[in-house]
């Protein structure tokens, strides 16, 4: 309950949480309100918002922009969450091994993360998706590949500072195995920064995903906000709404997640507040 008190003290974080809940509800209720395939022709093409029964207008193929946004919410949240989970999973394992054992593993990891910091990550993600062919899996993998080093560096730092504490030494004395100490003793002590960095990574992942889809690297079978904007860009002159509304959806989602992330930061680790 102390967590909730600290979190709700940050009013913008609470606002972000409400926006996020609304978007989440929109994502799960999309099939209810828009049962038809969002790619399907729903009526008169190029209808402005409000006309012909289209709340947010339709595009050149008569696809409903509002339906696309509702269905796209699921894609964005799903890819953002999955990519973050994979990146956190890999990052925690690598960071834990490097921080706990040090030596060669640590050296190797630090060199790898250094290389990843040098590589233009968005370009790398583009390359990976282009090579693997666009699909949900390849997009999730690409985003995870460019995101895990940040987690690994963080976890390594935490493990490095915790591995020589008394409670860890006590575990050694009790004869606990390395894996059990890492997972059961050290990891729970560095969960808060991992949660914070993870929450902010979901936002970045959604931005990367929308950028990929905008460039035509989205899963061709799944509606997404980036795809809508990419498909609508040729209509800018005649149908501004096709690009405008999905962009607002991305903006609101990413903003909400960033606000929640900052709120989590304030609530979970006050000492991290000045970082970033």
């Amino acid at each position: 309950m102390q967590f909730w008190r600290l979190f709700s003290r940050n009013r913008s974080a609470v606002m972000g949480m409400f926006i996020l809940i609304a978007i989440f509800l929109m994502a799960i209720s999309a099939p209810l309100f828009f049962p038809a395939d969002p790619f399907s022709l729903a009526g008169q093409s190029m209808s402005p918002p409000g006309a012909n029964g289209f709340l947010l207008g339709s595009d050149s193929l008569g696809r409903d922009v509002a339906a696309g946004i509702a269905h796209g919410a699921k894609t964005s949240l799903l890819i953002g969450l999955l990519a973050t989970l994979v990146a956190v999973f890999v990052g925690v394992i690598m960071g834990a091994l490097a921080g706990y054992y040090g030596g060669v593993i640590d050296n190797l990891l630090m060199r790898t993360t250094e290389m990843f910091q040098t590589i233009p990550s968005f370009l790398f993600a583009i390359l990976l998706v282009a090579i693997m062919k666009p699909s949900i899996e390849s997009i999730v993998i690409a985003i995870a590949v460019v995101s895990w080093p940040a987690v690994a560096r963080l976890v390594r730092g935490e493990f490095l500072s915790l591995r020589n504490r008394e409670f860890v030494q006590a575990c050694h004395t009790l004869g606990m195995g390395d894996v059990r100490i890492m997972l059961g003793e050290i990891l729970p002590n560095c969960l808060s920064p991992i949660i914070v960095i993870g929450s902010l990574m979901v936002a970045t992942a959604i931005l990367i995903e929308s950028g990929l889809a905008f460039l035509g690297l989205g899963d061709p079978n799944i509606m997404s906000w980036g795809f809508q904007i990419g498909a609508g860009r040729t209509l800018l002159r005649s149908a501004w709404w096709v690009c405008t509304f999905p962009g607002i959806a991305i903006l609101l989602t990413v903003l909400a997640i960033n606000l929640v992330g900052e709120g989590l930061n304030d609530a979970l680790n006050p000492r991290l507040r000045d970082r970033s």
């Binding site: 290389m115 233009p120 968005f122 460039l215 800018l236 962009g247």
Partner: protein, 328 residues
């Protein structure tokens, strides 16, 4: 004399540290190329329409594609060192030539973006920090928060809608108006006119970043002892901010500008493809559409090396600006 020697040694040391990173990136590039479906011969055969398996095997032998992976890697490394990045069959040109042709527009866009983002970021951060918790600070913080969350391509498209299509102030795309055959200063002005919207779009995100950084950096410096000393000596607040604090607060912003170059290149792919700016990013976008992996990998390699180079330069500038930096 002694210090200039030390600086030379520091520069050399940093240079040597950069070599393994570049090497690793080249190797990574090679394996990505291997990962891709099909090789150059498949592409050639596809371009030609049809080819017998015997002919394809012969071609593979000619290109050394039948050799063990290690040998191929060696050949690739040698080629990269000789600046031979392969051949783009779509453009019928060597990749390195294509990249060279498109390098200048990207450099122009990135330079103007960095100048705009860092310049305004410093000013906004300064204003926010000096009016801490006033309406100015709040407005700037909200602005930074929103731009931080906006996808670049969307900002670009919205700017086109407002400033190009509705107001007609700026051109929608391209780098210059070829139909007018401008020369000399007219041409420079024409390019500058085309540069405005792409630069604003690309700089927004980084502007937010530098604003936050500058604000935090100013606040951190304001609590330092030397500020108290200056105040005790009776130095005016204005002089403390502009002469004492500002100089020290600038350093982290300069470093960050170097670190962000990699991200900037990623952003330029998007911005260039929105504004049809004929640079490397646009080339990458075209390569993507034409499934021209050789070209895409070449751009990737070059931009990674560019990041290493910029970081090196920033480090060296930094060590000159701040003599306290350990150069041993």
């Amino acid at each position: 004399m002694e210090s200039s020697q030390r600086r030379t040694r520091y520069v050399l040391k940093r240079l040597f540290q950069a070599i393994p990173i570049v090497f690793a990136i080249v190797v990574l590039n090679f394996f990505l190329l291997q990962l891709a479906e099909g090789d150059a011969v498949d592409v050639l055969a596809g371009e030609a329409g049809a080819a017998t398996p015997e002919y394809m095997a012969e071609l593979r032998e000619k290109f050394g594609l039948d050799k063990p992976l290690v040998v191929q890697l060696g050949v690739y490394l040698k080629n990269v060192v000789m600046l031979d990045l392969g051949y783009s069959f779509r453009h019928d040109m060597p990749v390195s030539e294509l990249i060279f042709d498109r390098f200048f527009p990207t450099l122009l866009l990135m330079t103007s973006t960095i100048l705009l983002a860092v310049g305004f970021g410093i000013v906004l951060g300064l204003v926010a920090a000096s009016g801490l918790n006033t309406w100015r600070d709040t407005v700037i913080s909200i602005f930074a928060l929103i731009t931080y969350a906006t996808p670049l391509f969307w900002v670009g498209l919205m700017l086109i809608v407002v400033f190009s299509l509705n107001l007609g102030w700026f051109p929608t795309s391209g780098m210059e108006n070829f139909a007018m055959f401008y020369e000399g200063w007219d041409r420079v002005l024409d390019i500058a006119h085309h540069l405005v919207l792409p630069t604003i779009t690309l700089s927004l995100f980084y502007l937010a970043l530098y604003t936050r950084l500058m604000r935090a950096s100013m606040l951190e410096q304001a609590g330092q002892d030397y500020v108290t000393t200056a105040r005790a000596k009776g130095v005016t607040e204005r002089r403390i901010v502009f002469v004492h604090v500002l100089r020290n607060a600038l350093l982290p912003v300069v470093t960050m500008a170097g670190v962000q170059v990699g991200a900037l290149i990623g952003g330029s792919v998007i911005v260039e493809s929105v504004f049809a700016w004929p640079g490397l990013g646009m080339l990458a976008f075209e390569a993507l559409f034409a499934r021209d992996l050789n070209l895409l990998l070449g751009i990737f390699l070059l931009s990674a090396i560019l990041v290493v180079a910029v970081n090196l330069i920033v480090d060296i500038i930094y060590s000159t600006l701040d003599p306290r930096i350990e150069m041993a």
